[in-house]
Symmetry: C2
Subunit: 330 residues, 2 copies
């Protein structure tokens, strides 16, 4: 019987692990495009490079980590099935990757998860169990299912295989745009953000990485400021993908590699989302907009410590657009 968190080791995630993860998932995922927008560049006073994980399979970056984790399982693990808890995108990703691998997925989702995300899980053959919309309830529910069925836990972020998978988005971004000065990524449980630190700084060590977080779900900001892991019991931010809190594993990576956490208001999230839909003609969910919002403030560039403008023009900033799963009213 595997431990509750079989990927949990104290060893750092080395570059070799990330390269292997990328090779493992590459045949199954999209190489998402990096898009640009002159009108958003003008608003930001920087050159922005959007890594469009909203255009990824299952509509978010989560398929990267889920595929890496599930295709790392032994055949015996696969026979037992997998279980996870998620506000939505990791849920769909686990259900999809489980189907690819030929195993079953039990998914614990908060009862206030958007209907579109529940439908996606079901469309991939995932079996949903609803829980209360807080971190404690979803972890407990998942543990119960795990105990009852023997399924392997695929944690949404507290898992090295997941983090290594998520790191490949930033790795691809840096492969495409090698001279970025900084990368902005949303932060929730920290799987994407710690992966972004690893993938981006592994390619270009001098680059800066910032986490972007709703004021209404500010645990990463408080953890970062205090140097002690803070929790978030629940949140009603519109950024429904960012209602989880950091794990010791992701916080440890962020403490080592992250350059800062930037908070944004709900109004800033909505304004940034609308700009991206209108100007870039892509559908993003509110969580994605959180990574653009800080740089649209007049103080944005200063705040992210990029006063060191480039000699050859404005700063070049990568932005990870994490997903595009929203309920559409057409």
């Amino acid at each position: 019987m595997a431990a509750a968190n079989p990927a949990g080791t104290a060893a750092p995630i080395e570059w070799k692990i990330i390269v292997e993860a990328h090779e493992r998932i590459r045949p199954r995922i999209h190489r998402t495009p990096v898009l640009t927008s002159e009108s958003l560049d003008a608003l930001a006073g920087a050159r922005l490079y959007f890594k469009c994980e909203n255009l990824q399979k299952t509509g978010s970056f989560k398929i990267r980590g889920a595929t890496n984790a599930i295709f790392s399982l032994t055949d015996e693990d696969v026979r037992r099935g997998v279980v996870t808890h998620s506000s939505g995108n990791h849920a769909a990703a686990v259900a999809c990757a489980a189907r690819w691998r030929g195993t079953t997925a039990s998914i614990v989702m908060p009862k206030n998860a958007p209907a579109v995300k529940c439908r996606a899980v079901e469309s991939y053959g995932g079996k949903i169990t609803f829980c209360e919309p807080n971190v404690t309830s979803r972890a407990e529910t998942a543990s119960r299912i795990q105990a009852e069925t023997g399924a392997v836990m695929i944690h949404p972020y507290d898992d090295d295989r997941i983090i290594a998978g998520q790191s490949t988005a930033a790795k691809e971004l840096l492969e495409d745009i090698s001279d970025l000065d900084a990368v902005l990524s949303p932060v929730s449980g920290g799987g994407l953000l710690s992966g972004t630190c690893l993938g981006a700084k592994g390619t270009k060590p001098g680059l800066k990485v910032y986490g972007c977080e709703p004021e209404r779900a500010d645990d990463a900001y408080r953890s970062w400021k205090s140097g002690k892991l803070q929790t978030l019991e629940s949140s009603d931010t519109i950024a429904d993908g960012l209602r989880a809190s950091l794990a010791p594993r992701t916080f440890a990576i962020l403490q080592k590699l992250l350059d800062g956490v930037l908070l944004v208001s709900e109004a800033e999230i909505v304004a940034a989302m609308k700009l991206i839909w209108e100007r870039m003609k892509i559908v993003i969910e509110p969580s994605s907009a959180v990574a653009l919002a800080p740089i649209l403030r007049s103080s944005g560039l200063q705040e992210i410590a990029m006063a060191q403008r480039r000699g050859d023009g404005p700063a070049k900033v990568g932005i990870i657009l994490s997903g595009g799963n929203v309920e559409l009213k057409l």
Copy 2:
């Protein structure tokens, strides 16, 4: 004084002209991505390759033709300014390309053009004159401005430079996906569709090209069927970009190169648009959806005469998503 239509020649648009147009516009436009969607492939029973001109500068393919035409002008022409009439996307494209070239643009738009398209024209510095929403009124209004100001007409489609510019979208699509069996494109005045015939068949002669048109704006279908150019005085289709009718120049190219015109209902347009927003996470306008709609019908593949399925799997079909300029309600 140049003729009303200085690009009007009876000579065919040769491949060399298209290559030159591509070289001329390449530094100024986006090389738009070609996206795929497994779930839409499953619905269509074909492998679909979406050329995303909704992600193009100004939000549509129209910038290709406008840039080619305006950067083909002499310096003397440039001093006189340019004028055009358009339901919206060509308007924004001409205004944008005129600004790039450092000249002024007068734009005639139907008074029922979407507000978002009017704002776009103004944001590029274009000067709008509104007309009645029919072909006669807009042509007359543009001619009057042309006579009064001496500006050079940049016709939205009845112009070889425009057609050569629009052809580069299909040229790029075939450069990326060389073994397509067919390409579907919306048709209105025929600039994009005749350009698609030239760009696609110039790269791969055996490939088939179909025009896709709303039932409520079926002039191209009637022209194609009858062999005689038919007109459309006005239309209320939701596909607001497709309310123009073919010109002799575009009809002549279509008669030589096109493989058929497929009609779709308003309901089919809306359903296809919703699918693309939901599954592909991109914002398209209704006119773009017209090119997906026919292949979603159960009879779609048969209808477009692709019974000749490939030995190595389902047919590979390119779809030109022409634009993404819609009024968003967020």
